[in-house]
Amino acid sequence: MTRRVLVMFAVLAIIALGLAFYALHLKRKVARDEQVAAQQQLALAPPANGPPTSVTLYVASDSDGTLRRTQVNVTLPPERTERDRAVLRALFGQYLQSSSPHPIGAGADVRDVYLLGDDTAIVDANAAFADAHPSGVLAEALTVASIVVTLNANDTKIQRVKILVNGQERETLAGHADLRRFYEASNIGQVVKDLQ
């Protein structure tokens, strides 16, 4: 073999090794992502004790800018904030289906709901809720409105709602909707064309 060919083989070997490492890195990343996704799917499953209760969801529709009233059966925990959280998870469950009229980011979940006084709810969503949310004025406004209206429909004492992301205040949901303010159930309905 000539020296040139030897050098060429050495170069090839180095490139092959580099590509192999890169492929391994990609494979590990995919595996990690799948694991995270699986954990989030698990988190979305409702708690499995007690009889299911009918709850009211206001499900957003991107095509016409409306919120549609829907009844679903959910097993609700006895504690008030846990119940509020379960209702919102049922709403997110609708949005996470592949046929959703208002898709939100995969992995979106509600970490916690807590109350300030009797009438103000703080919804703490996870990072995926905001990070993977479709960016747009309509999309973000509908998400916020449906959360506030749905909470108020099932827990009528809740008059004001603020949304946190991963325990922190955020400037906007995904570049548009204001997340620094408290939303009032009495006027958030104006966001949508119709409540149906």
Partner: protein, 488 residues
């Protein structure tokens, strides 16, 4: 034993293939670097409009994006196919003209003839770039008009747009310097003791009387002209505080001694942002009282590192809305309505800065432009304010500055929606908690365009955007009489 020629060619091909693969993997990083380097920009003055084109540093010299350069001058249809780049440019009322270039080559074709660039053509992220030095000749060839490039100060003049000025010193008490312009101007004016600086961002001001004009006068000692970074400046120096006033519908600016300072009451208190103002604030300088005027301020949302929504992987919202903003400005001009853009290049501006700039510009109407993949057609918004939270003193709190204008904002939104409807464009009229709408102390609407019906790419379709821009402009024109003019 030596390998046969065929086998060594095979080995060479594998090496080349692997190298290409690596290049592809690392290509992304290269693009990111190029974008962060694109700081400076070229200002282009055409008879219809003035606009900025971001410049890119490549091959040791500045390059201008072909689409950004040509789009405001006509309609553009560009396509990069591997190393080949093809662009069809149609001047208003003209026929499509073809430009062809190849990445890394300096030879191309313009209108069917061979065309040699002074340096190699650059394609990055699917966009074609030509050396800045050739932009003037290229546009002259496409539009069959005179052009003039001031390369170092980044200014390009198309047609005979140059605005010249005259200087007249009146030795009254105090002395007055009259700056006369061949067409109305609207510079930002900064004053400091012994100095008045007029900065022209959009006006093609050129010097016709020499760069430095000294005076032997007790008050005014000289005027100097300079151009840099895509703008022109006139600096008047003196021995005491001075001020500038507009006269003759903006064709004359009078610089004279400032009266002794006295407390001046503002016409209406403009709301202030809660945080201390940023030093990089793009707020226009406060101007001297002038005649009321009707100005629409268009705010193309996002910019810089904030790309907005990714309409497609290669089509960020920030680009879609800037193109749309220029169309809206053009359509408003067609209807005799002056409009300016809050950003006319790919720069990042915070939400608070947008509101501060908008309120300082005192527009008759503020319009934010967004683009998204959600739903279809056009969404027209006004602000969703907190329920009943109006201050009784007439002072406008920052978080609800919009409250006083909501009724007028609603009229404009309704009028724009009606124009969209009459053009059979799908539209939705809603309220939204969109920042920074609540902080705007003027009638304000937001328009979000989504793809018409077909594929998402159609959001950038020129005919579609033109229809949307026409609807917006016609909707504004229809309610213009309702909107008060504002004293700048």
């Amino acid at each position: 034993m030596p390998l046969s020629g065929r086998r060594s060619r095979l080995a060479l091909a594998i090496v080349a293939g692997s190298a290409l693969l690596f290049a592809a993997l690392w290509g992304r990083h290269a693009i990111v670097h190029a974008q962060s380097a694109a700081q400076n920009q070229l200002t282009v003055y055409s008879p219809q409009t003035s606009y900025s084109v971001p410049l890119l540093d490549a091959n040791g010299q500045p390059y201008a994006g072909l689409v950004e350069l040509l789009e405001p001058l006509g309609s553009v249809d560009a396509r990069a196919d591997g190393k080949k780049y093809k662009l069809h440019f149609t001047p208003p009322g003209g026929r499509p003209l073809e430009l062809q270039f190849t990445e890394g080559k300096n030879k191309g074709k313009v209108r069917g003839n061979g065309y040699k660039l002074p340096a190699n053509f650059v394609v990055q992220n699917g966009r074609g770039y030509v050396p800045l030095s050739v932009t003037s000749a290229l546009i002259a060839k496409l539009l069959a008009t005179d052009t003039e490039l001031h390369a170092a100060p980044r200014r390009l003049f198309i047609g005979n747009v140059q605005v010249r000025y005259t200087l007249e010193l009146h030795k009254d008490n105090p002395s007055r310097l009259l700056l006369g312009f061949s067409s109305p101007v609207n510079p930002s004016i900064a004053t400091e003791p012994g100095r008045v600086r007029l900065t022209f961002r959009r006006e093609p001001i050129v010097s016709s009387v020499g760069e430095n004009v000294p005076y032997s006068d007790p008050l005014i000692t000289g005027v100097s002209f300079s151009e840099h970074d895509g703008l022109a400046e006139l600096d008047v120096t003196g021995t005491a505080p001075m001020m500038a006033n507009f006269a003759d519908g903006g064709r004359t600016i009078i610089v004279t001694g400032a009266p002794a300072p006295a407390p001046v009451a503002q016409a209406a208190p403009a709301p202030l942002p809660p945080a201390p103002a940023n030093t990089q604030n793009p707020t226009p300088q406060p101007r001297q009282p002038a005649t009321p005027r009707f100005l629409v301020l268009i705010d193309p949302a996002h910019g810089g590192s904030d790309i907005g929504a990714a309409i497609t992987p290669s089509l960020p919202e920030k680009d879609v809305v800037l193109a749309l903003a220029r169309r809206v400005q053009h359509e408003l001009a067609n209807r005799g309505i002056a409009a300016s853009l809050l950003r006319n290049s790919d720069v990042a501006i915070t939400l608070d800065q947008r509101a501060t700039s908008a309120n300082a510009a005192r527009p008759a109407l503020y319009i934010a432009l967004h683009a998204a993949n959600t739903g279809q057609g056009v969404h027209v918004f006004t602000a969703l304010l907190p329920a009943a939270n109006l201050s009784p003193q007439g002072f406008l709190p920052w978080d609800t500055a919009q409250a006083a204008y909501l009724e007028l904002s609603g009229s404009v939104a309704g009028s724009v929606a009606a124009e969209l409807e009459s053009r059979k464009l799908p539209n939705t009229r809603l309220l939204a908690p969109l920042r920074p709408m609540n902080n705007i102390a003027a009638p304000a609407i937001a328009v979000e365009i989504a793809p018409p019906a077909g594929t998402v790419d159609e959001i950038a379709n020129a005919a579609y955007q033109d229809q949307v821009a026409q609807s917006i402009a016609a909707g504004i024109a229809a309610v213009r009489a309702k909107l008060p003019e504002v004293r700048p």
